[in-house]
Amino acid sequence: MNDHVAPRRPELVCPAGTPASLRTAVDAGADAVYCGLQNATNARNFPGLNFSPDELGKSVDYAHARGAKVLLAVNTFPPAGQFQLWKDAIGIAASVAADAIIVADIGVAAYAAREFPQLRLHLSVQAGASSPEAIRFHCEEFNVRRVVLPRILTVAEIADIHRQIPCEIEAFVFGNIGMMAEGRCSLTNYVTGVSTNMDGVCSPAADVHYEEEADGTLTTKLGSFVIDRYGCGENGGYPTICKGRYSCSAQPEPYYAFEEPRSLNLSALLPDLMRAGVTALKIEGRQRSRAYVRSVVAAFRKAVDEIMTGKQPSLTDLIALTEGHKETQGAFQSKSWR
């Protein structure tokens, strides 16, 4: 990466699962907060989480009064015959003056662009648009103003894409490293009958069961399938099939068939990302607590501000908040990451 290029000041885009979490993110220094409604229109449709239309309106007012933006995730794919819920979500976003909606489905994008042309459109990571051609298509057809890139590109590739597209780039810098649109999510759909990409629920909690034995061994299950078995004192992860440990006839010792439970942390790559033309840095974790939001947002706020003043960022240790207490730079550093 060219160290002579001055970094641009990026927008820090932070997660909020509840109104209190949104206020926490704004107070901790978020430039923008993303959230979802309490239904299948967003990809974190978990019990007790998300916003009613009234809560969303009040939250937008709170954020705007403090100079922060609110982005509404409407980033699942409508099942056949159920488009109205997604239309309603876009109408709600417009009515509360949300600063943008984050969409994945081209029908939803087309509807929003046609009916609410004043509403800014961001392309969700769920859309899986990772080539200049795919991104340009969404920009030209639906006036998409920003793309959230899938977590499969190196920083050099992001810089290359930046030169070829007419919209802003948002890149994940911390949190879950799920791939979303390349097929693994179909596994949880197969097991539970509930879809990550259409119902917004990955490993629905109703299907998750934890069994701890007297010796401290913890077994996690999704439906009738054992996802993992942790020894006493061994760090745990989410009960998702894509991060489970399995054995088979070819490999009898349990192993991570897809990927290990670990979180993305690009703290050390922030200057490179900012020089690569990334407009917004995104923190994952709408399903996490206010404590997580407060800690991670404050850490990245401080790091970005230090970089912008020419200082070496002092990076806070966030390992205690990572899945399995392990972190990675994933594909952003090297294509050797699987």
């Binding site: 509840t18 607590s289 800690s295 806070t316």
Partner: protein, 165 residues
């Protein structure tokens, strides 16, 4: 403290939180009708929470005589204390195996998310329940946290929170 002496305080806490934080019930949805055992593993009793909007109840039981509940949440007292107060991240505690969940996971997720949406935290809401003595209650909580941090080995969690052993 004998459990009969604890019960009036727990009843006061339950009714005060319900009165001050009615939004908690809407976040709980159907799970408000369920019962939860909250098990502070370093104390000689467990709490049973029945967050019914019409009659929320919090009661203390000897660990071996607690009634059947839909879900159990177990951890050290200070971890549970900071968890319900929004000072600790439940997922991080779970990853480090300091929080154990059994039974109805969906109900626990709903409860966790509902409590996390309480501005200022549930503990502040509880201390207000003590009326003229709320200042004393708040000081007691603060003192308890300090002792817990010293005695149980607090360490940084992203520079802000705590992660008690």
């Amino acid at each position: 403290m004998p459990l009969p002496l604890l019960q009036p305080i727990l009843t006061l806490i339950g009714t005060q939180v319900a009165k001050a934080q009615p939004d908690v019930f809407s976040r709980l949805g159907p799970h408000a009708q369920k019962s939860f055992v909250i098990d502070p593993t370093d104390l000689p009793f467990v709490l049973v929470l029945k967050p019914k909007p019409e009659a929320p109840a919090l009661s203390a039981w000897r660990r071996d005589s607690a009634p059947h509940s839909h879900a159990r949440i177990a951890g050290s007292f200070l971890n549970l204390f900071d968890l319900i107060d929004g000072s600790l991240d439940g997922d991080a505690l779970f990853f480090s195996r300091k929080l154990r969940v059994t039974g109805d996971t969906e109900a626990v997720v709903a409860l966790r998310n509902a409590l996390d949406d309480v501005d200022g935290g549930v503990v502040e809401s509880i201390t207000k329940a003590f009326g003229p003595l709320s200042g004393v209650a708040a000081m007691t909580v603060s003192h308890m946290r300090t002792l817990g941090g010293r005695g149980l080995g607090s360490r940084g969690l992203g520079g802000r929170g705590r992660n008690h052993e």
